[in-house]
């Protein structure tokens, strides 16, 4: 008899996979599709698993769940993605087949908002630069007094006032910052000033914080014009996606002092980071780690586990809505 553990096809893989595996080792037969170059059906053969016994997929945006993948698995009933976005999943095919698609909800919202604020304070007060100076590490220059002052009174322009943008706004309001924003649509339930034009937002801001998803419309939403509008005292923080900013232009602006500084958790071609930034004291660089806390991973694992449990035990499934 083959194992009675239900197979779980893993694609991506999600960063929390090893944690999830360790917590659920007795519950699933894990099939690491991400580790194989073979087409799916051949991979399943090597695992001695019949495609019709695969009912669940665990994935993330690194590896798309295409129509082909879905059609290869006639019993597929649930796809759980460790992400808020679901662009990497053929939603139409899932709808056709009545396959549940579960995404993350708010598990990492606070952590990403925390990093946005952390990067802003660091750039503004030169914390990482000061730490390097104190330890005499790397290309450290004498620590010039930062030209800024307190954050209070600064105008913060949030690009993308979704959950994360909203949490960033809440935190910075406690520092007495003035919040304004640009989004696809004006949000009638907030009192922050709305700008339909990003250049106008930048002209009226001291700080820009990028919290929106990457789409065709938002690619390079922060370009040279926006950066020049933000100006020489301006700071950019990016916790969205690297391609929200024209990275080559950003590097030039930072090197020439067209903007004061930048805090970046994401880059166009991760894990590659433009090396010109390494010699600069007015940038703080983070390795796409905004959601990388143990709390967040544990919450996300719990969410994944509950979703899969409910599915496999055929209880009524509470599905995170796909937007």
């Amino acid at each position: 008899m083959t194992s009675e553990l239900p197979p779980l096809l893993v694609m991506g893989p999600p960063a929390l996979y090893s944690l999830f595996q360790s917590q659920n080792s007795n519950k699933y037969r894990f099939l690491d599709a991400f580790s194989s170059n073979l087409p799916l059906l051949q991979f399943l053969q090597t695992q001695q698993i019949h495609p019709s016994s695969v009912r669940a997929i665990l994935c993330n945006p690194l590896q798309p769940v295409t129509a082909d993948v879905i059609r290869s698995l006639p019993s597929l009933g649930i796809v759980v993605t460790v992400s808020v976005g679901s662009d990497h999943i053929d939603i139409l095919e899932c709808l056709r087949r009545c396959i549940h698609v579960v995404t993350l909800g708010t598990q990492f919202t606070a952590d990403v908002a925390d990093i946005a604020v952390a990067l802003l304070i660091d750039v503004h007060f030169k914390i990482s630069a000061g730490d390097r100076f104190a330890r005499n590490w790397g290309p450290c220059k004498p620590l010039a007094s930062p030209s800024g002052s307190k954050l209070g009174g600064k105008r913060v322009g949030i690009i993308g006032l979704g959950r994360i943008g909203g949490e960033v706004a809440k935190r910075l309001e406690a520092f007495d910052c003035t919040i304004m924003y640009h989004s696809r649509n004006k949000n009638p339930s907030v009192s922050y000033t709305f700008y339909s034009n990003v250049v106008d937002l930048a002209s009226n801001s001291d700080v820009l914080v990028l919290c929106c998803p990457l789409t065709e419309q938002t690619k390079y939403i922060v370009n040279k014009e926006v950066m020049l509008a933000l100006g020489k005292d301006g700071i950019i923080v990016n916790v969205g996606r690297g391609a929200l900013i024209d990275e080559k232009e950003l590097v030039q602006c930072l090197m020439k002092g067209e903007i004061r500084g930048a805090g970046l958790d994401v880059f166009e071609n991760e894990p590659n980071v433009p090396e010109e930034l390494f010699a600069l004291d007015n940038v703080v660089l983070s390795p796409h780690a905004a959601a990388y806390t143990l709390d967040c991973f544990m919450d996300a694992c719990e969410h994944v586990a509950k979703s899969l449990d409910a599915f496999f035990s055929s209880k009524s499934l509470i599905i995170s809505p796909i937007t």
Binding site: A15, A110, D111, A113, D114, I115, V117, A118, L119, I121, D122, H124, F125, K126, I127, S128, G130, D131, R132, F133, A134, R135, N136, W137, G138, L143, S145, P146, S147, G148, S149, K150, L151, G152, K170, R171, L172, E173, A174, F175, D176, E270, P271, N272, V273, F278, V284, L285, S286, P287, H288, A289, Y292, T293, L294, D295, C296, F297
Partner: protein
């Protein structure tokens, strides 16, 4: 006013030194070795002393200046000034409260985040090319943590307000419980340390608060606890702190001040769970200029017979 003699005994913003030079007859004894010469020649004419966090008049100096009327400090902390002696001699003392409150509170949150989320370490990780080899490890969430504030004065309250934006719970210790405060009070520092995730030192340095952070408090804070010192280096028993960090008895520390600035214990340099800053709280040009103006305005008010703006004594 060019004839009024003033003695500068601490390092201050160049702008302040220039203004003092312009407006008064300024003598300098920032280096204690300069003191004897200045006193020999000018002790009987000096009517004011300007101090800072790096130096202030002790009892001996106050005694040696028979015409001393006022000490104006370029700092909010006045631990360098013998306040008791000033009171005895009827010497007024002013400091620079409020102008730096918000900035120091901002920096405090930045320090907490830098330690818990390893911001400086991650920045080093990227700059050294290590990200190409793999992701950085998991760090500790800040939102929702419990913050313990030692000294719920202006700065402590400002830190608390910001931390509430992160859904933190706030508790505090101070000499007396504050009946108007919504935060939870603990009657001892050890109890505060036992019940919080991050402990922020935000009280004045006095003989009572010297080494208020000792081995017992550090152990109570524990292997997951984080100490943030934006007060004075002498609040913390530094050798105890260093050994606790090296041994893992304390989870991490963010330090803007040290016992013997600018000396930073080198054992800390290799630790990824500490963030070290060269006393930058209040260091922005705007804030330091506002502090300087407060020193100048207090001196001017005094010599014009007007009420002092920010008197302590």
């Amino acid at each position: 006013m060019g004839s009024i003699s003033i003695l500068l005994v601490g390092k201050v913003l160049p702008y302040l030194e220039q203004e003092l030079d312009k407006r008064y007859n300024l003598f300098r004894a920032i280096d204690p070795s300069q003191r004897a010469a200045v006193l020999r020649d000018h002790a009987s004419s000096i009517r004011a002393v300007v101090a800072s966090s790096s130096g202030g008049p002790d009892a001996a100096l106050i005694e040696a200046l028979p015409k001393l009327e006022i000490v104006s400090s370029f700092s909010v902390g006045v631990d360098r000034i013998d306040l008791q002696k000033c009171k005895e001699k009827g010497v007024r003392v002013t400091n620079t409260p409020d102008v730096l409150t918000d900035e120091v509170a901002d920096l405090t949150i930045g320090l907490i985040l830098a330690v818990l989320r390893r911001i400086c370490e991650c920045d080093r990780y990227v700059r050294s090319g290590n990200w190409k080899k793999g992701d950085y490890k998991l760090t500790t969430k800040f939102s929702g943590k419990t913050l313990g504030i030692l000294g719920l004065g202006r700065i402590g309250a400002a830190v608390a307000k910001r931390a509430e934006g992160f859904d933190c719970s706030i508790c505090y210790y101070s000499r007396n419980e504050k009946p108007d405060s919504k935060y939870k009070y603990y009657p001892s520092v050890v109890e505060l340390a036992s019940n919080c995730d991050v402990l922020v030192v935000a009280c004045p340095l006095t003989p009572e608060t010297h080494h208020i952070i000792n081995r017992e408090v550090i152990n109570a804070l524990g292997p997951k606890g984080v100490l943030i010192n934006i007060g004075r280096g002498k609040h913390v028993d530094e050798p105890e702190l260093v050994s606790a960090l090296l041994e893992g008895r304390l989870g991490g520390a963010g330090l803007d001040v040290f016992e013997k600035e600018p000396h930073v214990p080198e054992e800390l340099f290799g630790l990824e769970n500490v963030v070290l800053l060269p006393h930058v709280g209040s260091a922005t040009v705007e804030t330091r200029t506002a502090m300087a103006d407060l020193v100048l305005d207090n001196l001017e008010a005094h010599f014009l017979g007007k009420p002092l703006l920010t008197p302590l004594v």
